[in-house]
Amino acid sequence: MAPETPFPQPPGRLIEVLHQRQQQHGHLSRTTLAMVAQELRLPPAHVYGVASFYHLFRLTPPTPHRCGICFGTACLLRGAAALAAAQAQRLGVRLDDPAGDGLWSLETVSCLGACGLAPVLVMDGVPRRAEAP
């Protein structure tokens, strides 16, 4: 235990480690999770349990490009569903199918807090204002 830590058990760093690995590999494969479990001396079931609990951890490889549609309240009211349908048709993929067409996938994302600009879409991680279809 580090001497400057003022409380009995330093909180675990599992979530941070999972974030790092996902950033490196794009997703958290079974092998990655097994390695994390070994490194942190945690039961593999615990590591898998945490990784599968949080929406932002991906257990399958992402497509090279991704389009997100915000389904927060303001975006919903300003046509997020129609926007999603239009994007699905344009890209030829189904909404929330992580495999997409191998190049692009389309996913719903939770509120980004850019409600003032609704509806908002996220192209490869960059949020921007979309014209309501």
Partner: protein, 544 residues
């Protein structure tokens, strides 16, 4: 700053993630290039990235400070940069200026800073948001950052700080409205043991962006507030939990922590009191329930964000069993201004039972969307109609507004007839809604209430952690029943079932997520029941 003669000409460009999504990046690049290139005579204006300038719908926003006055522009593009710089370098509003068509075009982008949207604001939490460069510690210090922390360390005991906060009547801005001073006393008065403080920046309510704006626009204010809270309850270590969906907020906060530690404002023992405080950042991973305080602690500890039964409350036994103070970002960011003005003066703002100012994020069907900070107790109508302008093209006394959704998935909808309701915790709760964290989403007449209720119920079903049955199974059943109703396949008996099940989920769920998940449904049933009944099948089953 007020000194008109020596005040520098500066361009404050909103560099918050809202305006970035509206194209602030391209505008910043064009301004940067033009200023690099030089040309023109006289002193060159300074380009300063700042936090939220409030009126998100008109972004990207840019404020031109010139000769002690300030002009705000909205929706500028790179093509308008030369004209803007011409105004910035000379004097605004000369007679030639009015005849120049490019200047006239630019003037069309100028926003009226006397409009109620700006004029009715009472910035305390946001007093320097939009003025300071959130990446520059010296600028923050020049605007007064850390001054209250240093004053209190030099002149007040922790008990005196707590007494001042109690006197202010400040209540937690995270949604429940629990008296902040009381919570601090609970933590401080636990038996001797290490204590911890946690800033809750999970901000999961869809439609809420107050905490994001504080973190992106003025991170040192949050750090100062957190350090004051730590001093007041006797903690030396703290966590700031920010949702992963806010990358810019995380980046700015991380930089601010490093700056404050390097400068010795945090992390080093205060010579007089020996107080040293070390904050640490934790990033979420996309789970709404992690905003709930016991789930938050589980997540900080590296586990699944699963709530636990209270008591013991985190104030008694939190992280690693230590007494842990959990406050919302806005609660903490209110402290520097509150302690500067004193508890009594703060308590004089707004209603006695619920004093102070509150930041609201206004979105949905309104002309002006964005961030407002107003005294508590102001009417909903003032905010969504007078300030935000009501529904675009809306007619009638209520400006085309059908209802206002407050409090996100745990809140409810208030019909236009109740727009004159003053905003406070108890008032909204009595009407079946809740203030929540401060998201106000305006609904127009095209919005079907059962559909909105179904959307929120599906949201809660997706975010339920699965620990307790009423929430795990009840939200799914309710979402299914509402789906059936939307498809006009539900009967009056189904509607009865919906109401009974909603009551069970409210009363028997383990944590706030399940206890409040039926609120949007129950509140729309209360105020818009006909929208449900008109979608029902006739009762005779053989007809269906």
């Amino acid at each position: 700053m007020r000194d008109g003669e020596t005040a520098p000409v500066q361009l404050r460009l909103c560099d918050a993630s809202g305006c970035r999504a509206a194209g602030a990046g391209a505008l910043a690049a064009a301004l940067g290039a033009a200023l690099e290139g030089g040309g023109g005579q006289g002193p060159r204006p300074r380009l300063k990235p700042v936090g939220c300038l409030r009126l998100c719908s008109h972004g990207p926003l840019l404020a031109l400070d010139h000769g002690g006055a300030s002009a705000l522009y909205g929706g500028l593009t790179a093509e308008q940069v030369p004209t803007l710089l011409a105004i910035a370098c000379n004097h605004p509003g000369g007679h030639d200026g009015d005849r120049d068509p490019r200047r006239r075009a630019l003037e069309a982008h100028r926003l009226d800073s006397h409009h109620p949207f700006f004029a009715l604001q009472h910035p305390l939490v946001l007093e320097t948001c939009g003025l300071v460069d959130p990446t520059d510690l010296d600028d923050a210090l020049a605007h007064g950052a850390y001054r209250q922390l240093q004053r209190l360390l030099a002149t007040a005991t922790p008990a005196q700080v707590r007494a001042e906060v109690r006197r202010s009547g400040l209540r937690g801005r995270g949604g429940a409205g629990y008296p902040t001073g009381l919570k601090w006393d609970t933590v401080a008065l636990q038996p001797p043991a290490p204590r911890l403080v946690v800033a809750n920046g999970d901000e999961g309510d869809p439609g809420a962006f107050m905490d994001r704006s504080v973190l992106e626009g003025d991170p040192h204010r949050l750090l100062e507030g957190l350090a004051i809270a730590a001093y007041a309850v006797g903690a030396r270590h703290g966590y700031i939990y920010v949702r992963a969906e806010y990358p810019l907020a995380i980046e700015r906060l991380l930089r601010a922590v490093v700056q404050a530690m390097e400068r010795g404002l945090l992390g080093q023992a205060d010579p007089a009191t020996g107080f040293a405080f070390v904050p640490e950042l934790r990033v979420g991973a996309g789970a709404y329930v992690c905003g709930e305080e016991t789930a938050l602690l589980a997540s900080i500890a590296g586990g699944r964000g699963i709530p636990r039964q209270r008591p013991p409350f985190p104030a008694q036994a939190g992280l690693a069993g230590c007494p842990t103070l959990i406050n919302n970002i806005e609660t903490l960011a209110a402290l520097p201004a509150l302690l500067r003005m004193g508890g009594e003066a703060y308590a004089a703002i707004g209603p006695a039972a619920c004093p102070g100012t509150k930041v609201f994020s206004v979105s949905g069907s309104v002309v002006r969307t964005g961030l407002v900070e107003v005294p508590m107790g102001i009417s909903l109508r003032t905010v969504v109609q007078t300030m935000a302008g009501g529904v675009p093209g809306g007619i009638g006394a209520d400006g085309g507004i059908k209802a206002v959704q407050t409090g996100g998935p745990s809140g409810g909808c208030l019909p236009a007839a109740l727009l004159d309701t003053p905003i406070d915790y108890e008032g909204l709760r009595a009407l079946g809604s809740s203030l929540g964290s401060g998201g106000l989403v305006v609904l127009d007449h095209s919005c079907a209430m059962p559909e909105l209720a179904r959307h929120f119920m599906a949201f809660c079903a997706g975010e339920s952690c699965g620990k307790c049955i009423p929430c795990r199974a009840g939200t799914v059943q309710l979402a299914d029943l509402l789906e059936r109703l939307m498809q006009r396949r539900a009967t009056a008996a189904d509607l009865d079932l919906i109401e009974q099940l909603a009551a069970v989920v409210q009363r028997t769920s383990l944590c706030g997520l399940g206890q409040t998940a039926p609120n949007p449904l129950v509140s729309t049933l209360r105020h818009f029941r006909h929208e449900y009944s008109e979608r029902l099948l006739p009762d005779e089953p053989w007809l269906s």
